[in-house]
Symmetry: D2
């Protein structure tokens, strides 16, 4: 008799195939689950393999649209970034995947959900916190944190030996000396040779962008149209015009890919308190984020922006990184985020060239905050320069007292 039914996040690789078989051998019934969030994958092969290994069912869900519209659009709206560099590619996909896995588990009456995440990383946290919120009754089996599993599988050799013993097919192509995770937004590279933070990522590592040195020796131009902070249309110099959310994002990915835009190599702070080195290539989101920041400059009120930057951007990014998407605080922050985007409507003209993306111009009818006449140094229409005198005088009240105090104390106004 089965110990119970487990819904296992299954990728078709050696690790999760091993877990699948191990769970079966431990007496569980296994429903395999795979989300299509835009990664490179032969989904049919994965299905066949899961069933061949003994899974009761293989659930494959295309979540690309939900991924883009529920999460990636929010990331664009808040210029999401972690520790000044990381665009959160992996973090963004996790909640969408976890929610669908919970739904699959519920559909197949599973008592357990399981995954192949390591015991030191962020992803275990992201998956399990999402499971906890989406269905608090589900129990988690995390083999890479279970002594009975980790003591059996101490290295890749143990996995290969188990595969041989259990008729698990193993890919004949050699494993890259790092691990990867990809989705519509990015591909991440970490571990292996990258654990030395001074080891530069080799040229062949990057899969989502071509080397800037190999990119065309000309600027490629296009425009990104925003409504309420969401990209709704991209038009390119060669007359492509895309409006559907997933297609639009794929087009930005292709533009970034072809011109080598969006590579990042960092050491970051994981939620659990360790530092780790990661390389990410994130072509489309890098471009979309830059375009969005630019259109905000034209149309967004300065004080709203200041509060949004300090509060919403920092909080939302950290919540996603730490796996707190399904949480009261993310809901709370997202209400503010959406409110901030009311007038963020307009067009940004951009170029890309050999590793760089840049803005060529922007325009909008949605806001009266930028006015060429107001901005003009030559025009005084509707502006009394004397007002500035008063403005400065009032601001100076405090500073004059500061200066007087310094003089009384004999303190210079700086060390030099």
């Amino acid at each position: 008799m089965s110990k119970g039914r487990v819904c296992l996040a299954y990728s078709g690789g050696l690790d999760t195939s091993t877990i699948l078989v191990w769970l079966l051998n431990e007496g569980y019934t296994v429903v395999a689950f795979l989300a299509d969030v835009g990664q490179e994958e032969d989904f049919d092969e994965v299905r066949k393999k899961a069933l061949a290994l003994g899974a009761e069912a293989m659930v494959i869900e295309n979540l690309q649209q939900a991924f883009v519209e529920e999460i990636v659009h929010r990331a664009i709206q808040c210029n999401a970034i972690y520790e000044d560099r990381y665009l959160l590619g992996t973090s963004l996909a996790r909640p969408i995947i976890a929610r669908a896995q919970v739904l699959a588990a519920e559909k197949y009456n599973c008592e357990y959900v399981s995954h192949g995440c390591t015991g030191k990383g962020n992803d275990q946290v992201r998956f399990e916190l999402a499971f906890a919120a989406c269905n608090p009754a589900l129990k988690v089996i995390a083999p890479w944190r279970m002594p009975e599993f980790t003591s059996k599988f101490q290295g890749r050799q143990d996995l290969l030996k188990y595969a041989a013993e259990n008729n698990i097919p193993v890919s004949s192509s050699p494993k890259a000396p790092w691990s990867m995770d990809d989705n519509l937004v990015h591909c991440s590279y970490e571990a292996g040779i990258l654990e030395d933070p001074d080891h530069s990522p080799p040229k062949e590592l990057w899969t989502r962008t071509i080397d800037p040195l190999d990119a065309p020796d000309k600027v490629y131009q296009f425009s990104v149209h925003f409504e309420h902070g969401i990209p709704v249309k991209v038009v390119t110099e060669d007359k492509q015009e895309v409006t559907e959310s997933v297609e639009l994002f794929k087009l930005l990915n292709k533009i970034g890919h072809d011109n080598g835009v969006g590579r990042v190599d960092i050491v970051e702070n994981r939620f659990i308190g360790l530092k780790s080195r990661g390389c990410y290539d994130t072509p489309g989101l890098t471009i979309a984020r830059l375009a969005h920041i630019d259109i905000e400059g034209l149309v967004m009120d300065s004080k709203v922006r200041e509060l949004r930057d300090q509060f919403v951007t920092q909080a939302w990014s950290r919540q996603l990184y730490n796996g707190m998407y399904f949480s009261p605080e993310r809901e709370f922050v997202e209400v503010a985020l959406v409110a901030s985007q009311k007038n963020v409507t307009g067009v940004v003209r951009m170029g890309v060239y050999r590793g760089s993306a840049f803005v060529l111009g922007r325009s909008s009818d949605a806001s009266n905050l930028y006015s060429q006449e107001d901005a003009s140094m030559d025009s005084l229409e509707g502006f009394s320069p004397e007002d500035t005198t008063g403005f400065i005088a009032i601001q100076a009240i405090r500073l004059k007292k500061y200066g007087l105090m310094k003089r009384q104390l004999g303190q210079p106004l700086s060390e030099s």
Copy 2:
């Protein structure tokens, strides 16, 4: 009899030459002042012109070292940035210039200080707030906010006519259709044709960076060495090694210049509530800022970084932008900034290529926070994966209650 002595910020250009003569004609004695903060300038010519026009004295002060060491280093330490894009080049120089102008005014017993800033910009605010703090007794003459001046000089033609009438030499080279301000850190371009935010900056606009398309078709490598967050040595692939603060910064400028790194084109929010469009090329600081962010990833505690990012970086950048350098709040924030950099010591290896700067690797002996063994997914030395189970379980307490509440209310965990 003189109405009093005025210390005028004098650049040798048409505007401030006109002001100089106008002040003389109004009955003031004028001491001209020019700060050398690394801008392109023929200082001897400026001196001759000022004296020829009737200035009692021409004071020229080389402030490059103070500029770099007192301010630019702080900007690097806090990854200073305004509205996600602007590296504050002009704002950084203003306090250093204003303080020196006050010292010159005091030395020459001036009652007044004067400048040629327009009445709608940020610089008038920055100068005058700095004057107020540095010497609250000095009075300011701001001609471009005085009706008696602005009614007389309503356009460039009026300036040229006045110049002709008053023997003010005028440069024969045609004026660029935008205005510029440069110093060691950057050159800014605004006004004129740039007032249309959809008008792309022309290729010939940029003076501090060559066009990425014209840059060498190869990566140029170098390393930046930091101590306590300050760049103390740069070593290049062609064996240049520089440690002196100003020379080091000039070398980074040259690397950036030659490889087209550091151009930004934005619409920003001025302190006085107007939006304006600015283009900036900031080669060296763009590189230094990226390197500094990178080394912080390796060596800085995550919680210190989070607080520094949200509090110090935002506050210091805004204070500088708004002309609040000489203020209690900048002093306060800077104490925290310096404290945050205690362990920010290490080396960043970098490359630049046709518009992009990027990191190739980093290392440090100053911090034990990154550990290859800790980071390794393969090693469990000193780490109990079971602890993560507990960590997640505790984090999940709140989220399970959230999920239960949602279920009770019949609310899905998101809109889809």
Copy 3:
């Protein structure tokens, strides 16, 4: 012929009566305006006086409900406070008054709005910024900032002389040696003898609370019921039960008044950069704020609260204090505020006694966050203490590295 029509904020006192007559003498037509925001006032007398002095019309609007429901409820929801002490009584009323004055000005086709605020205070800023947003076309006449007015009226004697010359009736009761402003929420006292910050407010100053020493020598009990952070019912020990918003607030005021609750005496920082001393008695809001903070403790998620405290409370309070109610940033922040109050529903039982308000207990059915069983130290139902071990171990990773580094550096963990 009239110079134009002015809508003047008119209180019936000596200052605004003088301004009314002065405006008439200057050739303007005057429409007087008075808002009823709950202050002590003989509105009929004010009407008669304005018309007698020559006002074309006297508009009196009862704004108490809008004041309570649009603003005071928001202040309660965000626990609004300025500089840790001031509950913003005056600031809260200003936007409601200014908006109604603009509507009156529009109704009577006035080109101008005018007020009697002094030139150094906050209220001029609050009124005029609200006028600017509510109708940018209206022009402001601020006599106390106009040299032609201030040179004529340099002290109270000049006002009395002008009153005598112009048949302006003057109250025979002696003026208090401080100035006051009152509304439904509080009464403020400032200036005069209070300008010495070490001069204690005299016993007779306070008008909205009796002296705690004169209050009943027994605890008075009542309960405050909240829905979504808004007080919707108050029930007292003597069987009063009130639900209508204005009546409810008046009942809290009476409870506070009778028991001496809500006095504050502070030195605060005005928006324009000066410090000033103010005394405030704010009976009902002091009680409502305490009750609201308490019910939030029972029902609000901790992370939402942390974000709300740091951003929403601080920002909204400052916006109101600085007169930025009608602004994009207040709108933005208020969306987040309302979202934070979704579950803030429940009952707080309270007592007041001789100057103090305190909580006796609280309950709610709206949230599952507090659970007696969870909280119990004796029960381990559904809680694995071992999880805490893991939680602590993960939190300690960073701190152990910190401790090791300190030991290596030979630094003690503190100065002692």
Copy 4:
């Protein structure tokens, strides 16, 4: 042979006496440790009992001065508070106790430290994180999280039975139906009957303050003198004058005690994600905090205060609550805290009366920020009211655009 030597935090009560004996029975050698942080305790009795039960040694350390000077003074300087109500009394003492326990453990060559904290509370976290930072090599024995202990001791009866079997003396006085923790700063009450958040604390619960109804029916006056934000002298109406740090704090405690000042009853969010109900009486710190906030009003720059309130106060308070005292981030924040107090020097005159503390006046020679003349509404010396016109006009630029946009969109400026 001993399993090793354990340094046990020992209070002499039933719980830790049981743990002491249990550890001995398990084969450990036990060194008992007790910190004197100002709690009510018969230290000689505790010493005798520990040795009688079999402890190898009993270490008792008077840490009152370190507690006050290293931590309590910082709490006063930053107006520390958690969730708007809790003055952190227990949290403040924990780091001082833990550090001393580590030193005792090191002195006696212990491999282990142990404590009697429950598995659901904050204190276990605070102690163990402090242990981790102070000596990362020490191992922790937390019996209330060990199944072998908790399964044996499931309720108080089990403890009493074990005590009887093991000759552990048990106090004959009946146990209060709540648990308590006291130190110089406060006494806390939680658990037992208080787990019902609607159960009012009974009159006899409070130990550190008398009932306000029983307090003298007169105001008691005194003054608190601050230097750099630290209270350095208290002078009372009956001529007491105290300057020594511990004595000064005890005098404030006595004033608060005798007049019923400092009771708080809340539901708070524990670090581990549960809510709990706590009652605290905190007489002296309540008074000191109010006095400090008041003197800051008089002497502190407004912008420094705003930044300090939003970042330092919130961060430091949370760090202490969560047990992160020995951490890089607390060090970082404390540097800023101390810098903020540079000018916080002056005298606050206060009164207390039947549950309330209040300010009667304040004065300082240390700051020029408050000026009676500046503040005076009557004086225009050195102040041009016209400047305010300019100040308002510049602030209004943005708001007029906002108002125009609203009008164009046909949106009213609020819901009514």
